[in-house]
């Protein structure tokens, strides 16, 4: 029975892959759900998609809530469509940790992009994952890659201080800030600046935009050969991070942003950093998948949860202490002979 059931799931996964390769958007929508929900056909689906991925240019957008990321992505999508690129969008919004419900409102700001039926846009609830993304955001990106999208835009939750995950899994990280985003020290503290390949100062028509730009440029200053160079910070690989001023609402600076993204891609390919990036992405992905498998195996083996409960009872009653309890737990795991 079980085997027959699995075969049916595999069959369905194969069908989805075939349909996605013909550009079927309904199949792409279903496939992302299968990955999000981790159904029995999900591993088969991922394996089937894999040979057809790796072509899309993956862009990550991060920055504090209210920075205008959704509106910026909407206008950028329209610009990329004008330049003949097909576009996929993944927007992540937070799930409630209490009810698991989520209100996914990015479509409200993306009516320009989504009016074009060839733009595929998917909202994802974070479902408890940290780092500004859903656990399956990059798997969903594989679906859009196999669907033939040239460019995939990934928008993070936007909590601002724990979004470093996105940079390990995209080709370019765009950090979106506003004149109100806080002083320079705040920016450095947030760690956001270090992950930026391109900086966007959105809402640049507002008061204090010039002051914010000056502050950002101060941050981008480096001392080269004993001389202060303005706005010349470069990433570890040697790319000079540009600052693009935009007003997403009226479209100001969007074309310049698209240019900067094209320039970055050309640099990635010429410098050979593209291969390094893909290796880094592969590593991050493998690590994530291995960790997920190990964790599942750890808790699925019989008796593990009961053992956890028993040790917790002992600890609460003061009969053991945490370090010893962990050792005892791992000792039993090892002697069981089952994977970890």
């Amino acid at each position: 029975m079980r085997q027959a059931g699995l075969d049916a799931h595999e069959q369905r996964a194969h069908e989805l892959v075939e349909r996605i390769l013909t550009g079927d958007r309904v199949a792409a929508g279903r496939a992302i759900s299968l990955l999000e929900n981790g159904g029995p056909g999900a591993p088969c689906l991922l394996s089937g998609l894999y040979p057809h991925t790796g072509h899309a240019y993956r862009l990550g957008f991060t920055g504090p809530p209210g920075a205008g990321k959704s509106t910026l992505l909407d206008r950028l999508t329209v610009e990329l469509r004008k330049r003949g690129k097909s576009v996929g969008i993944l927007s992540v919004d937070p799930s409630s940790p209490f009810t698991h419900g989520a209100l996914l409102g990015d479509r409200v700001r993306m009516s320009g992009a989504t009016a074009d039926p060839s733009v595929f846009m998917r909202s994802m609830a974070s479902r408890g994952a940290l780092g500004g993304l859903a656990r399956t955001t990059f798997e969903a990106a594989d679906v859009l890659d196999a669907l033939g999208r040239d460019v995939i835009l990934i928008e993070t939750v936007g909590v601002g201080q724990s979004e470093l995950d996105v940079s390990s899994a995209v080709d370019v990280t765009v950090v979106v800030l506003t004149p109100e985003a806080g002083g320079g020290v705040q920016m450095i503290k947030a760690g956001l600046m270090e992950i930026a390949d391109i900086l966007v100062l959105n809402k640049a028509d507002r008061e204090h935009a010039d002051a914010m730009e000056a502050e950002l440029l101060d941050y981008l200053d480096i001392v080269e050969n004993g001389r202060l160079m303005r706005g010349r910070v470069s990433t570890a690989e040697g790319w000079e991070v540009p600052l693009v001023r935009t007003v997403a609402l009226d479209g100001t600076g969007i074309s310049e942003l698209a240019d900067a993204l094209e320039k970055y891609r050309a640099w990635l390919e010429e410098s050979g950093v593209w291969e390094q990036r893909r290796q880094r992405q592969a590593r991050a992905k493998l690590r994530e998948m291995i960790a997920a498998r190990v964790e599942r195996a750890l808790w699925e083996a019989p008796g593990r949860r009961e053992l956890l409960d028993a040790l917790a009872d002992q600890m609460a009653a003061g009969r053991t202490e945490p370090v010893r309890a962990v050792e005892e737990f791992l000792g039993k795991v090892r002697s069981s002979g089952l994977l970890i």
Binding site: S33, S96, L103
Partner: protein
């Protein structure tokens, strides 16, 4: 370890046409979120084609429309027909607004799920949605 939980139901809430009154739909969106649904809100001025395209890309369990403009007899059947045409017959179409009783009956006969008028309590909406989507999931899984 995060305990495996039943996946949340996904609902697309949309305001079709020129009707710009979105207070009600936003209240419903919040109530559904608080009841554990994943709610996708599209915003105002959506055409039936846009709504259906969004429903397919988002792979939702249910499309719920808020119509206060009197266009319900055109828009509900149109959304239903477009979904059916794309092989999404099992997506529940429901909604609310200023809809006379006899129109509701006529829409039910055309495959529209329950409709809600003014004065409906949020609890009723949440209870109905939960039951309808549970039944749909059981049906889907028994296939």
């Amino acid at each position: 370890m995060v305990e495996a939980m039943a996946r949340p139901y996904k609902v697309l809430l949309a305001k079709p046409g020129l009707d710009g009154h979105d207070r009600g739909i936003k209240v419903v969106a919040r109530a559904l979120r608080d009841a554990g649904f994943e709610v996708i809100y599209t915003g105002l001025h959506q055409t039936p084609e846009m709504i259906v395209e969004a429903a397919l890309q988002e792979d939702v369990d249910c499309v719920a429309l808020s119509i206060l403009s009197g266009a319900h007899m055109t828009i509900f059947p149109r959304v239903r027909a477009l979904l059916d045409g794309q092989g999404a017959k099992d997506v529940v179409v429901t909604g609310g607004g200023i809809i006379p009783e006899e129109d509701m009956e006529a829409l039910y006969a055309q495959g529209i799920s329950r409709l809600f008028g003014p004065g409906t309590s949020l609890d009723d909406i949440v209870r109905y949605m939960t039951e309808a989507l549970e039944a749909r999931r059981e049906e889907r899984e028994s296939e």
